[in-house]
């Protein structure tokens, strides 16, 4: 089933449309070109694409079939975007045609009152054991090989999979990912989860070679026990991060007991997530920060060091580390001696952790400091902070960090190259070498905390 959904050979768009403003047109266009909004990451689907529309002959140079049954080929995946009332018949046709999975884009089901709910139940009943359903009421699926969705574009290819209960969120994340060069392996919009739910998709991605980390946006989980069982197992080898919506407890009914009042729905979710060992993110930004960090850096064994050319940012970072329970220990005397001996340190450098190597630090000083500190046995990970001074060289500093990372691959490095356009190239170099960079030392500290927790969990 994994192949039919994530790596199909043939896809049929049922409800393909000539109307440029319709979803049925957008999906077909996305499949054959990668995206309606062109980006350098758009790739046409390399397998066969079939269009089904009884009223059209050709759309986008693809011949239309009146019904899926008329397609003279095996179809792995159907994408359905006909009005909700027609979906049941289309699914029955797909079953006859032995289509293995169907993405139902159409809305008008459980999200749309009693009628829709009944319709969704009928769908599920018809599909049971015969075809797997994604959706209904979803955006579709994107992988590095296909845009089987009506998302406007394709993101850069990377290691993070995103399973989302909000399709609209995925759309904007894709555009953001293009700007930020944030790599994604797969995006799955779960929709109403009539058949396949978040847990099923986690299972699906657990064996996907292109996915190293799974990021979740969750509004609700129907089968808590199933989710916990699958998430706990998969998280052991493939980290899972979750952002859960619905924290506010508005309109909570008067409840007689304290327990009833305190064990809110969100707190219960939080407990469940903690129990299966998955990370909980506080915001969209944090969700993708954590996912990127876990995808790009190894778990961190214990204490960390901070090297900075700006005292203030170093202190801020150390503050955040302390708040998150991260140890920023003193260096050995021998380490300070080694630093002194290089002759590259400023007379006023801090001689302690965080190591402030002073604003006039050139790449050579960064290099000496980074290598000496990473040599130290009790340091498990490193934060490198760079503020932009007149003599600062972000690109060369980035190369210094990258070289050191190659030399000490087991000690994770997170960077905080702060600034805008003038540090952009340095940051791009770091990110391209799998060293995450965050603009705010608070995000850096959180990333380090995640790597330390991962180390403790996987021991």
């Amino acid at each position: 089933m994994q192949n039919a959904i994530l790596n199909p050979r043939t896809i049929a768009v049922i409800g393909a449309s000539r109307d440029k403003n319709s979803v049925g047109f957008g999906i077909l266009k996305n499949l054959i070109s990668g995206g309606v909004f062109h980006s350098e990451y758009c790739r046409p689907f390399q397998g066969k694409v079939y269009a089904v529309n009884p009223n059209a002959d050709w759309i986008l140079n693809i011949k239309c079939h009146p019904n899926i049954k008329n397609v003279n080929d095996e179809v792995d995946l159907a994408i359905i975007c006909v009005p909700s009332k027609l979906v049941l018949q289309v699914i029955k046709d797909c079953i006859k045609k032995k289509v293995r999975a169907a993405i139902i884009i159409s809305s008008g089901f459980a999200e749309d009152g009693e009628e829709g709910k009944k319709l969704q139940e009928k769908l599920l009943e018809a599909a049971k054991g015969k075809i797997r359903l994604i959706g209904p009421n979803c955006l579709g699926i994107l992988t590095s090989k296909m845009n089987a969705s009506f998302a406007p574009s394709m993101p850069p290819v990377g290691d993070v999979a995103f399973i989302t209960q909000s399709g609209a969120l995925a759309d904007s994340i894709i555009d953001w990912a293009i700007t930020e060069k944030y790599g994604l392996s797969t995006i799955i919009s779960t929709g109403n989860q009539a058949d396949m739910d978040t847990a099923d998709f986690i299972e699906l991605l657990s064996t996907d070679e292109n996915t190293k980390v799974i990021a979740l946006y969750v509004e609700g989980i129907d089968d808590g026990a199933k989710f916990m069982k699958i998430a706990e197992r998969v998280n052991k080898t493939k980290p899972i991060v979750v952002l859960k919506a619905g924290r506010a407890e508005n309109g909570l009914k008067a409840i007689s007991s304290h327990t009833g009042k305190l064990a809110t729905a969100y707190k219960t979710y939080e407990a469940a997530f903690k129990q299966c060992g998955i990370e909980i993110a506080d915001s969209i930004e944090e969700l993708f920060d954590i996912a990127k960090t876990l995808a790009k850096q190894k778990p961190c064994r214990g204490d960390i060091a901070i090297i900075t050319n700006g005292g203030g940012v170093g202190v801020l970072c150390a503050d955040y580390c302390q708040e998150l329970g991260i140890n920023v220990p003193e260096f050995e005397k021998s380490t300070i001696k080694k630093l002194d001996k290089t002759g590259l340190m400023h007379p006023a450098y801090s001689r302690r952790n965080p190591l402030d190597i002073i604003g006039d630090a050139l790449p050579e000083r960064y290099e000496a400091a980074i290598n000496i500190i990473l040599e130290e046995k009790h340091i498990g990970g490193l934060v490198v902070i760079q503020t932009l001074q007149t003599m600062t060289n972000p690109e060369r500093n980035a190369r210094v960090v990258i070289d050191a990372h190659h030399k000490y691959p087991d000690k994770p490095i997170i960077c905080c190259f702060m600034g805008g356009e003038n540090v952009r190239k340095g940051i791009n170099l770091l990110e391209a070498s799998n060293i995450p960079n965050f603009q705010d030392p608070k995000r850096v500290a959180r990333a380090m905390q995640i790597l330390i927790k991962r180390f403790e969990k996987t021991q």
């Binding site: 026990a225 007689s256 304290h258 327990t259 305190l262 064990a263 707190k267 219960t268 407990a271 469940a272």
Partner: protein, 214 residues
């Protein structure tokens, strides 16, 4: 959701090794003084009613220091209840030994997605104002119970801040695990509220208890 009658709750708690202070149900004035001999003084007198969720607020609970005050307290709590909650069914009163120690809350709620979730926190005003609680999806084993206790910010208070001695954490753990076992075996329990559980160096007892079933 239905609140179980007090006598039923007491027998469920006893069966599941969840200790409570010496407690006597009293149906009439006549039995009052004999019952008090069993609990001893000081004691709490509480109106026994399935319709009262928060007894203290309406004066349906009083602390009685000595025998001479007992009858007066009895009349008072009944009167208060009749006045403030005229529709409440009154099934006599409960006499209960007064225990001293720190207050914690141990409770369970049935969640539509995750089934029973167990809650632990510091009791009294701490739970109301700071909401300093930890939760786990049931089943909860001894290790989980220990984590739950250590997870709350108020753990330092239980451990004994300044010159105070540490409370009996082991006894708390036992109650948590036994509550978990109780709801695992009884799927129809929708809510349990042991609030407060009084814990001191020696023991932990559920001084007030509610069990709701579907």
């Amino acid at each position: 959701m239905k609140l179980l009658p007090t006598d039923k709750i007491i027998s469920i708690l006893a069966k599941n090794k969840i200790p409570i202070p010496k407690t006597k149900l009293v149906n009439s004035k006549k039995e009052l003084f004999n019952a008090a001999k069993i609990t001893g003084y000081p004691l709490f007198i509480k109106v026994n009613s399935p319709d009262l969720a928060h007894k203290t607020d309406i004066g349906a609970v009083k602390k009685v220091e000595k025998e001479e005050q007992l009858l007066e307290a009895y009349n008072q709590v009944i009167k208060n209840t009749r006045k403030k909650m005229p529709k409440a069914r009154v099934k006599g009163v409960i006499l209960q030994e007064v225990k001293f120690g720190k207050e914690v809350i141990i409770g369970v709620k049935k969640d539509p997605q995750f089934n029973h979730v167990l809650l632990f926190g510091l009791g009294g005003i701490f739970v109301e104002i700071f909401k300093d609680v930890s939760l786990r999806i049931v089943p909860v084993n001894e290790k989980d119970a220990e984590e739950m206790i250590k997870e709350i910010k108020g753990y330092q208070i239980l451990k004994g801040a300044r010159d105070e001695k540490e409370v009996n954490i082991e006894e708390l753990k036992k109650i948590i695990v036994n509550v978990s076992k109780l709801v695992t075996a009884n799927k129809n329990i929708s809510e349990i509220d042991l609030n407060p559980v009084i814990v001191n160096q020696k023991e932990a007892v559920a001084a007030d208890f509610k069990i709701m079933v579907e």
